[in-house]
Amino acid sequence: MRPTFSIIFFTVLSGAGYGLVFLVAISLLYAPALLAQLAQFGSAADLDALAGRMRLTCEVALAIGALLATAGLLCSVGHLGKPLRAWRAFSQWRSSWLSREGVASVLAFVPMFGLLVAMFCDTDIRSNGVAIAATALACLCAITVFCTGRIYSSLKPIRAWHNGYVVPGYFLFAFYAGALWIAALYTMPITLSPLAIPIGTLYQFNAFVIAPLAVGLKLAYWRSLAQAAKPDTGDATGLRRLGSVRSFEQPHTEENYLTHEMGFVLARKHSRRLRTIAALLIIGAPLAVWPLSVVAGDFAAWVVVLLGMLGVFVERWLFFAEARHAVIAFYGR
């Protein structure tokens, strides 16, 4: 399949955005318990000041997450032939995963904006309202990423997408990218504060659990693709019963939409090298924070975001570019 940049940016940016927002929601849920633990060490006024700084941290991270998600969704609109009609895509949630993704992604903005406004108005993050909104937000973020994965995994003619690896992959990479972003945001001087999510633990979790899981999943996925049967012209035309089938004349002399959109071979030619690059970047980025921070200090976290996002981008480019559509068998390619 042709790896259109609008769709790659859509899945990568909105994945990172919803992953980041999910982690902010989780840290908002965790904050009251953390503050209660700290109650014995300081006065009520100290705790209130701490809660205020946590609120600021979450507010900045939530705003950046909302921006990332919005940028991703705008990229997806850029892929449309008639972008001004995009609103129609919210109507068919009963049958279409794309429609469900659209509905969930927009619904997530309701608690997201609610929390942003509440925190802007200095609402205490220990209040019940914040907890309810954060719970709804975490659920809607997870649902959105699930629907994004299902858009692709529900398409049977594309063997590389119609399998059980795709949705877990979207979850893992959304969490991975979100964790890199939240860690970088929480080290900024403006937000520097005792955090609901301890950053060291998050980096360790990302580096030693999520990244190896994600890359392991991709390795298993790539192996399953290599073993999958490739339907050829004989299967597509049903003429296999007569003998071996070879296309000797194409229906058209020039490229058409199908051969242009679905006959992309560049990635399969270079797949080995690109897969290695993606795997090394994804594994390497969260590990690099410790050596990098010795030389670059807090800035290291942003280098890690750049490297990690690049890794996810290459992975997503391959996800689209390597996929082979069944219709190409008619063309004997």
């Binding site: 007569l242 003998g243 229906p251 939409y257």
Partner: protein
């Protein structure tokens, strides 16, 4: 609504006879001509008279060489293969549509695109393994075979002309149009008699259109199962003496 209508009795579709199609592309040209000016048109092309013209066609004719193994060795047969929308009974192109632009008509099963609702997301083209849908870069919306719904019910046309343009144009009568839901219709009988088949049934979309396979060739070469060339047998003892000696001498 992109949820599918309940299964209907009437299933309008095409039956394509691969035995007699000569690959003249008249069906494809007639289709392009009618649909450029029909109710769903136009079908504009980019760079139509330039070096790299491109545009939407609802019907594309492939040409294949099928190599058969026969008793007398290998033989190649040419099969011309028109490919267009199969108007599936359970089409994924309809259910994936986020806007309701893609729909399957409850009354006759024709799969259509509402040009006013289509946002051009192309998910339906990805969902179709048969390559039935092409997006128009000029119009920004998805285009596909309409089974000439603007001809087959068109009362301003002569009754004989109320059939899809591709069927009317075919000079060898390789294309047939009718109700495949009615087991007694002429084309259903044709499918039963010639063992017509559906393309890639493994996807489960239940194509309505059927293809009639090429008939066995009458050139005396039976198709042998691949890998087992037939051995000729000779009973030497039944030969006259001279030939028996010749056979023995040559067999050394």
């Amino acid at each position: 609504m992109t949820t599918l209508p309940p299964p209907a009795a009437k299933k309008l579709g095409l039956v394509i006879d691969l035995d007699i199609c000569v690959g003249c592309h008249a069906c494809a040209v007639a289709c392009k001509e009618w649909n450029d000016g029909g109710d769903f048109g136009p079908l504009p092309d980019a760079d139509p008279y330039g070096a790299h013209p491109s545009g939407v066609w609802f019907n594309r004719v492939h040409s294949y060489a099928v190599e058969e193994t026969t008793a007398r060795g290998k033989r190649e047969m040419t099969v011309h293969f028109p490919r267009s929308c199969l108007h599936c009974e359970t089409p994924a192109c309809v259910t994936v549509c986020p806007t309701g632009a893609s729909y399957k008509r409850a009354e006759d099963g024709i799969v259509l695109v509402d040009e006013d609702k289509c946002i051009g997301c192309q998910l339906c083209a990805w969902a179709c393994p048969y390559g039935a849908r092409e997006i128009s870069a000029e119009r920004g919306t998805m285009q596909k075979c309409t089974l000439c719904v603007d001809r087959i019910y068109n009362e301003t046309l002569d009754p004989a002309d109320r059939q899809p343009a591709c069927v009317a144009a075919c000079p060898t009568r390789a294309r047939h149009f009718g109700d495949l839901g009615d087991a007694d219709s002429p084309i259903s009988k044709l499918v039963a008699e010639r063992e017509g088949y559906a393309l890639m049934p493994e996807f489960g979309y239940k194509p309505v259109n059927k293809y009639l396979p090429p008939r066995p060739r009458r050139d005396g070469c039976d198709v042998a199962s691949p890998g087992t060339p037939r051995e000729e047998t000779l009973d030497r003892d039944k030969l006259p003496g001279v030939l028996r000696w010749l056979d023995r001498a040559l067999s050394r």
